[in-house]
Symmetry: C2
Subunit: 357 residues, 2 copies
DNA sequence: GTTCGTTGCTAAATCGGGTTAGCGCCCGTA
DNA sequence: TACGGGCGCTAACCCGATTTAGCAACGAAC
């Protein structure tokens, strides 16, 4: 297909100078090293004419860098979150002239080891270890020579690696306040986790933290959680089952669903029970999954800042790369990215309460 | 963080031999070149002890390869399709010891040019140009020295590049047959495109091809499309509007929705009109988006083979890489990946017809 | 006329592997 | 003792760019 790549030697030859001179001119150091105008022009023109582009691999060999970072996640595809996180990371990396290697471990530790090695063999300048749902992970020992950042994950053991996560506690407060602001004081039920801090899906950091935030904000207003139903997995069918079960016993005024898929199931159960959203029951949720604006009435949700998480991970990674040598005793900082309320149509004041603040 | 990478020279030194000898042993050519057992063992043990791993960058410099392919798409995040396509590509690449660079152009030609250059500067062995919805694209001139494959896209002008796409025409036939097999003969309406081949969203290959397949399969059974409503964009709200409009005029027996998001809107409009799915109206759709199994009744849909598309693109790319030199006049083959019906709960025989097929 | 300084450029080493060509030693044979 | 040949290993070069050290030519100063 191609007549070989143009190299620095080609440019030098075409300009009638040595490789050294060509290199100096092209790296902009020609002036300070007193290369004559004439030679400078000849080199620049030759490079232009031949469409010369430096071979990054070669530079990488010398400098040990590759202008590349590795993004390793447990799953790329599972949720839309993944794509948006990658998108944010991609943009932040691009701004710095870096490319992204993508790798997927599927939760397999051996695969993860191989992948991390393959990336380090390719001289990546840094690694992002991402999880697709917020949880605690074992930091693999295979990371040896390279700065790294945890994304959407906390280390099981203390490590010097920084972590970037959504601010789930504040998100919990935000969801609770959305109901409080509308005037709700009673009949607030949780679907997905709670009411106790132990009533959460295994490994889920998000569940615990959201719950803490919810209870804190309600408590500060002197409001009690009226009750809760847990879901083994945060899927629509479990949200449906949990809500149907709840409606068999009582009639809530408001639901805080732990994510949008659960909320979708809750909508279905409320519909079956002849209850209208938000007329009879207000609903607030988390994640701001696309379906939040597809279901009717459109769902008010506290958005996961997907892009921003990816972007921040790259930013933090770069400060990490800039840092000389991490003291071995350093404990990684935890960076929290705010989650914002997307107000839509699923919350109204309870009957008999005028629209509040 | 690290005490420098272990190089071949370190291993050679530790084993008390030359770099050449160490290289021969480690590349398995020691036997044929009569390296003694003793030396072989010394080298292998030193490599093991020092945890030696060859630096791929260095090899790449010599051979001009990088065991890396570039995956450039217009959008990574928009749909779940993206993630799954990448996942399939990732797996196929991993099987061959290759890594994937990911890049996103956001439809910006200049960004695309820069990205392709950045990837070629990093010596990628091949490129995948992906589109997130099936359409025709301009093949950028920036691809010069590297084998490439189009994924989910057709070239506007004939090119030597092969393309990998879902078999949308057959998918159209499959959707139509699903209704025919249930006994439907009348009152079949289309939502999203049609009835004419020009009544499609701009640039959408999928729309045209699905329509062709639908009309062909219905026609073969002597059945006419009863009518259609187009949607400017295939989103739930447009599906809702189009269906509501249709229901204002007539009462359909079956709907073929052009994708699942449209079908979701159609469900809402049918519900508003007091029509039950599938009791009053059967619905079949395309894509098999996650929501297809979240909405009630669960939606029968012809699945886009996301993973398989990504995998096939990598496979085709490798045969392309293996090919010596593409004749300049060669026209790229088009590979079609089958789309399969996911039968769920949204189709029943029309009133008065016993279960057929 | 020697020494020093400046100017303008280049040879050679470097990064980490792979590869080609060939060196030194030992053994057998004449 | 001299020569030929196989054995076991290594020196040296290559890939493409950067960088260090230094060379040649010329002018000025003593």
């Amino acid at each position: 297909m191609s007549p070989r790549r143009v190299t620095l030697a080609d440019v030098a030859k075409a300009a009638g100078v040595s490789r050294t001179t060509a290199s100096l001119v092209l790296s902009g150091r020609g002036r300070e090293l007193r290369i004559s105008q004439d030679v400078e022009q000849r080199v620049l023109r030759a490079a232009e004419r031949l469409q010369y582009r430096p071979n990054i691999v070669s530079v990488g060999l010398r400098t040990g860098t590759s202008r590349t970072i590795g993004f390793v996640s447990d799953t790329v595809a599972t949720s839309r979150l993944a794509g948006d996180m990658i998108k944010g990371a991609l943009e932040a990396a691009r701004d710095r002239g870096f490319m992204l290697f993508i790798g997927e471990t599927e939760g397999d530790a051996e695969l993860e080891r191989l992948l991390l090695q393959a990336m380090q063999d390719r001289q990546v300048d840094g690694l992002i270890l991402a999880s697709m749902f917020t949880r605690t992970i074992k930091v693999p020992k295979a990371i040896t020579a390279v700065p790294a950042v945890l994304l959407n994950a906390l280390p099981e053991q203390p490590t010097p690696l920084p972590a970037v996560l959504p601010d789930e506690v504040e998100a919990g407060r935000t969801a609770a306040r959305a109901l409080l602001d509308a005037g709700h004081r009673e009949g607030i039920y949780l679907i997905g986790a709670g009411p106790g801090l132990r009533d959460v899906p295994r490994e889920s950091v998000a569940a615990v933290e959201r719950l803490i935030g919810i209870r804190e904000a309600l408590g500060a207003a002197g409001v009690e959680v009226a009750g809760a139903r847990t879901c083994p997995d945060w899927q629509p069918e479990h949200g449906f089952a949990a809500t149907r079960d709840l409606l068999g016993a009582i009639r809530p005024r408001a639901l805080i669903c732990f994510n949008d898929r659960i909320a979708m199931g809750a909508y279905q159960a409320l519909d079956d029970a002849g209850l209208a959203v938000p007329g009879d029951v207000s609903v607030v949720s988390f994640d701001d999954h696309p379906i939040a604006s597809w279901i009717r009435p459109k769902l008010t949700s506290v958005a996961l800042p997907h892009d921003e998480l990816g972007r921040r991970a790259v930013d933090v990674l770069f400060t990490e790369i800039g840092r000389d040598h991490a003291g071995p005793d350093r404990v990684g900082e935890v960076h929290r990215v705010p989650m914002h309320l997307r107000s839509r149509e699923s919350i109204t004041p309870p009957p008999g309460v005028e629209s509040a603040g």
